[in-house]
């Protein structure tokens, strides 16, 4: 290696560059915009462009004046319960979605992990295949399936199970169906990754020591697959809280979520500071439990250090 290249190498520590690149990306495209949103959330709405009052002003005597408007946050929790209801209904949507994804996704992931090794890539492919079609189109397709004279109702009437079409579309049920459908792969994939690594001889050992198959599952497979359960649940829960398209397309007029609320503050009411406050609270709602969970996981990993 020439002396020049060596000198370059000494000056450019490659490792920190590699690690630094994603951090830089996150700072520029997440941290900075988010701080701007935080800043706007402390302003008051105005008819100027941009439509909010400045946070920092210099008056004639060159005195810096900082005006923090906290009423956006106060409004979230006081006079109008609509925000609180929107938060709660978003969290409930996400929780129900996560629960059903786990209920359906765990057996799927288990079956794929225990399938013939040659069959596994095919089954995984089938899980990922829907991503090849636009998300929006797939949700529109559900309208065609769930509407009063849609595929599902026609099929049920044809088989004679029902004689009047079920009213599913534009209800909470159709929102759940759409969300579980859309988020299922995010549950199956991390679950598969943990279950596939699970040593089958552990199950054999449990059975050898007198555990029936179900007992062996709860004593061995389930606790050892918890990291996958947690990862999958987070991957489903977090985006599900902020989900906008599915409640808008499949939900009824009365479907209230934090994302639809955000949309109407921003575009209908043109109240940027209020919309920002809604966002800041939502991020806080998601980040705090996430950090607690991560701390708990780190502690558990410490205990089982190998």
């Amino acid at each position: 290696m020439s002396g020049f290249a060596k000198a370059i190498r000494a000056r450019l520590p490659g490792r920190s560059l590699v690690i630094g690149a994603p951090y830089l990306w996150l700072v520029v495209f997440f941290m900075v915009p988010f701080l701007l949103v935080v800043k706007i959330s402390f302003a008051d709405s105005d008819t100027t462009i941009p439509p909010y009052t400045p946070l920092f002003t210099l008056d004639d005597d060159s005195v810096l004046q900082i005006s923090l408007h906290l009423d956006n946050f106060l409004r979230l929790f006081s006079d109008d319960p609509i925000y609180l209801l929107a938060y709660l209904s978003s969290l409930r949507n996400a929780a129900v979605t996560t629960w059903f994804c786990l209920l359906i996704g765990y057996p799927m992931a288990y079956a794929i992990a225990r399938a013939q090794p040659t069959l596994r890539p095919v089954l995984l492919m089938l899980i990922v295949l829907p991503f090849w079609t636009s998300f929006l189109i797939r949700i529109y397709a559900w309208i065609g399936i769930l509407k009063d004279n849609g595929l599902l109702n026609n099929f049920l009437i044809w088989t004679g199970v029902i004689d009047q079409p079920l009213n599913i579309l534009n209800t909470q049920t159709s929102v759940y169906i759409g969300m579980v459908y859309a988020y299922l792969p995010f549950m199956v994939l991390p679950l598969y990754a943990t279950l596939e690594k699970l040593d089958v001889s552990l199950l054999e050992a449990a059975m050898d020591l007198g555990a029936r198959p179900m007992r062996a599952f709860w004593a061995v497979t389930w606790p050892l697959s918890l990291p996958g359960v947690v990862a999958g649940s987070l991957l489903v829960f977090i985006p599900a809280v902020g989900e906008f398209i599915i409640p808008t397309l499949l939900g009824g007029a009365d479907t209230l979520t934090i994302s639809t609320q955000l949309w109407s503050e921003f575009f209908a009411n043109r109240d940027w500071p209020m919309a920002s406050a809604v966002t800041v609270v939502m991020v806080a709602l998601l980040v705090v439990p996430l950090m607690l969970l991560q701390r708990a996981q780190a502690r558990a990993a410490d205990g089982a250090a190998s």
């Binding site: 007198g210 555990a211 089982a304 190998s306």
Partner: protein, 398 residues
């Protein structure tokens, strides 16, 4: 199905540090007595995977208190046989009877059998204590009793102080002990061991071989062990079954297998052997004469079996039975072959001499290093005579 309680004299952990009180089957050799009831009866057991007969018509009787080894190369069917005993593999034909109960179709969780897995299969999310207690908890044993028996089992394997650790925090040898404690705590009628020492380094393995034997005699459980390591099998076993291509080719005590192999395969597989192909020339009451062009002359073999004169046969003789001498002096032996030292492998405790015979065949002869290295009796290229007694060799089928 309830598992009958083991008889009281099998109560493990009762006399942990005391001397072995019941007579060892090593001395009583119950397998010599045709009227003795075997503890495990394997009868014409067959398992077919695809188009391979992994276990092919295996019949075997194992007696109470034995430490029985299944020995063979990879793919010989020994592990499949062990897994059929454990219940993880269902036989295609034949039966397994343990202590009078036919268990061929009994699921693993209802068999009076426990297994120690090759990789130990310790539950990584449980402490040592919980791992060992697992089997007792499944049986609904009362809490105080579990605590007492787990304590005893951990003391037996000298791990009492590590009860609260997780398997990830233990060394390989400690994990092996946890696995042993976990597998004997239910006082099974039979303990199956799948390559129990293969994950340990050589020094630890040698120490553990004797320890495992001692523990086995203390707890009085019948052990059936699978191994590919012949030294391990020889050191520990009461008897060994050598397997090849899904069949048992020979069963016997370690010294029987070594000194009286029935076939060329067994002679070759166990230890090192010199093999001379030839033809049986004369069969006399106390010895046989084999004409072997490979040896460059006739060989005299000690008392032999029922081969017919004229049959193609092999003479097998172990390297340590060969005596080397300069120009044949002092070798009053019936078999004497001249040759030249081709190579010497120094092993520390012994030397292996590779001797090219006048016939062109290369034989191996082992001699203990009684003196120091500079007393080395033979050098490379030296002309020597190789000799052995008639009884030192054995006839096997080619």
């Amino acid at each position: 199905m309830p598992i009958p309680a083991p008889p009281q004299n099998l109560n493990i952990l009762a006399k942990v540090s005391g001397p072995v009180t019941h007579p060892s089957v090593r001395d009583s050799e119950p397998w010599r007595d045709p009227s003795a009831e075997a503890h495990i009866k394997i009868d014409h057991l067959v398992k077919i995977f695809g188009d391979t007969r992994a276990v092919d018509e295996v019949s075997l009787h194992i007696h109470r208190g034995e430490l029985f080894s299944l020995l063979g190369g990879s793919g010989c069917g020994k592990t499949t046989l062990l897994r059929m005993l454990a219940g993880f593999v269902t036989p295609d034909a034949g039966s397994i009877v343990i202590d009078g109960q036919d268990v061929s179709r009994v699921p693993p969780y209802e068999r009076p059998v426990n297994m120690m897995f090759q990789s130990y299969a310790l539950f990584p999310h449980m402490t040592v204590e919980d791992n060992v207690a697992f089997g007792l908890r499944r049986d609904g044993v009362e809490k105080g009793e579990i605590k007492r028996r787990v304590g005893e089992a951990l003391d037996l394997v000298q791990l009492g102080t590590l009860a609260k650790r997780k398997p990830g925090q233990l060394s390989g040898g400690q994990r092996q002990r946890v696995a042993l404690a976990r597998s004997i705590i239910k006082r099974p009628k039979v303990l199956l061991l799948d390559e129990p020492l293969s994950a340990l380094d050589k020094k630890l393995r040698e120490a553990t071989q004797f320890e495992l034997r001692t523990i086995q005699e203390q707890v009085g459980i019948t052990f059936v062990m699978v191994t590919h390591d012949q030294e391990e099998a020889m050191t520990m076993s009461t008897r060994i079954a050598v397997m090849n291509h899904g069949k048992i080719v020979q069963v016997g005590k370690p010294n029987e297998i070594y000194e009286f192999p029935h076939s060329r395969f067994v002679a070759d597989f166990i230890g090192s052997v010199n093999m001379f192909e030839g033809r049986l020339k004369e069969l006399l009451p106390d010895h046989a004469v084999v004409e072997s062009p490979e040896a460059g002359g006739d060989l005299v073999v000690g008392p032999t079996g029922a081969q017919a004169p004229g049959a193609a046969i092999c003479v097998a003789v172990r390297p340590e039975k060969l005596k080397l001498s300069k120009s044949g002096e002092g070798l009053e032996l019936p078999n004497r072959l001249a040759g030249r030292v081709r190579d010497i492998a120094y092993l520390g405790d012994a030397c292996v001499y590779h001797v090219t015979l006048d016939s062109g065949k290369i034989v191996k002869a082992t001699a203990p290093n009684l003196g120091r290295w500079d007393d080395q009796p033979f050098v490379r290229d030296e002309a020597v005579t190789v000799g052995w007694a008639a009884a030192a060799s054995i006839l096997v089928d080619p």
